[in-house]
């Protein structure tokens, strides 16, 4: 038995099976996972690892296990989406731990959280003074959401009665030296316009450019491969091997 080759083939099977299953489940953002989703992910990963390397059993039962866990996870997700009662039972719900500036001790006890843990979560959000907090909500995924008191919220142009033009989202026109024609079309621009704009910035060919973005206000951002920086700041604290 050529064990190395068999592991490569099984790794291939495990990797692409997991990729397909993960896309079907759709949990693309780790920050939104509940604790159970996190555990589910670890378990599925562990099964995929044994599918790859555990040659003492054939790949098939591991793959069936992987499929079953993924299918059950998907089923739970569907049930939670369609049935709110089940969602509350399975995933829990957000809990208010600070309300109108006051700590909800009973809620903390119910969630089995100590005050020190809440203070730690608040510090992670940049809040060091409890007097600033109006509401703090413990989410099912263990994260804390904080609403500061109005007097401690950051100032906005609206507060200053300053008119601002809408910023919108930048669109990539060139990525890694390649022109994205579809995005140019969506913005009612064409390649000629792009070349003209690049020429204004002294760029002769699009292959010199790493990234070009355009925002709705008409501001063009251009980054070249050659940065022409004379001195690159070294942020290292001490000498290293390189």
């Amino acid at each position: 038995m050529n064990e190395g080759l068999v592991v490569v083939v099984r790794a291939f099977i495990g990797f692409y099976s997991l990729l397909i299953f993960a896309r079907i489940i759709g949990k693309s953002q780790i920050s939104q996972l509940s604790f159970f989703d996190y555990v589910l992910g670890i378990t599925i990963g562990s099964i995929a690892a044994t599918l790859t390397t555990d040659l003492s059993s054939s790949a098939w039962p591991h793959w069936v296990g992987l499929f079953t866990w993924v299918a059950l996870g998907y089923l739970m997700e569907m049930v939670s989406t369609k049935w709110r009662y089940a969602a509350k039972y399975l995933e829990g719900e957000p809990t208010i731990v600070i309300m109108n500036g006051k700590i909800m001790e009973k809620a903390l006890k119910k969630m089995q959280y100590r005050v020190s843990q809440i203070l730690e979560l608040l510090r992670n959000k940049g809040v060091f003074d409890l007097n600033q907090v109006d509401f703090a909500i413990l989410e099912p995924n263990g994260q804390i959401s904080v609403l500061l008191k109005p007097e401690h919220l950051p100032l906005t142009p609206m507060d200053m009665k300053i008119k601002v033009s809408p910023s919108g989202i930048s669109t990539e026109l060139v990525y890694d030296g390649i022109i994205i024609d579809e995005n140019l079309r969506q913005l009612n621009k064409d390649r000629n316009w792009l070349f003209k704009e690049l020429k204004k910035k002294g760029i002769k060919d699009v292959s010199e450019v790493f990234l070009v973005t355009l925002d709705p206000a008409g501001s063009l951002y251009v980054d070249r491969y050659e940065d022409h920086l004379k001195k690159i700041t070294d942020i290292g604290d001490y000498k290293g091997p390189y």
Partner: protein, 121 residues
């Protein structure tokens, strides 16, 4: 067309993977004249029963060659232990034939057949 490809490529990929993983049952069967494991074992049982040790030696070499061919096909969908156990059976069979031990020879062949039967199950 694009939507069709986006849906069908993952499905076809998964089906292909499943076929690879469950293919042992089919791939261990003989495809030609020189990779017929059950026939080789049957021939060896007759040789050992008749105490025809020279023929048994030659047929063991044949079994070994057949097994080397079959391993290459079934290794992706079988347990390593089953493969190793069959290989060990052949080694012990050689010893039994050398010792002209009919009883051990038959035991090894019987066990080897079982390992071959359970390959991919």
């Amino acid at each position: 067309m694009r939507r069709f490809l986006v849906i069908s490529i993952p499905i076809v990929t998964l089906i292909l993977f499943v076929l690879v993983m469950i293919s042992s049952g089919v791939l261990k069967q003989p495809f030609g004249d020189d990779d017929n494991i059950p026939l080789s074992i049957e021939t060896l049982i007759q040789d050992v029963n008749n105490e025809n040790w020279e023929a048994a030696n030659k047929d063991t070499d044949q079994l070994d060659r057949a097994w080397e061919k079959v391993i290459k096909r079934v290794q992706y969908s079988s347990e390593r232990n089953e493969i190793d156990d069959f290989t060990i059976n052949i080694a012990r069979l050689r010893g039994a034939i050398q010792a002209q031990d009919k009883s051990s020879g038959l035991q090894e062949l019987s066990e080897a057949y079982l390992h071959w039967k359970y390959l991919g199950k």
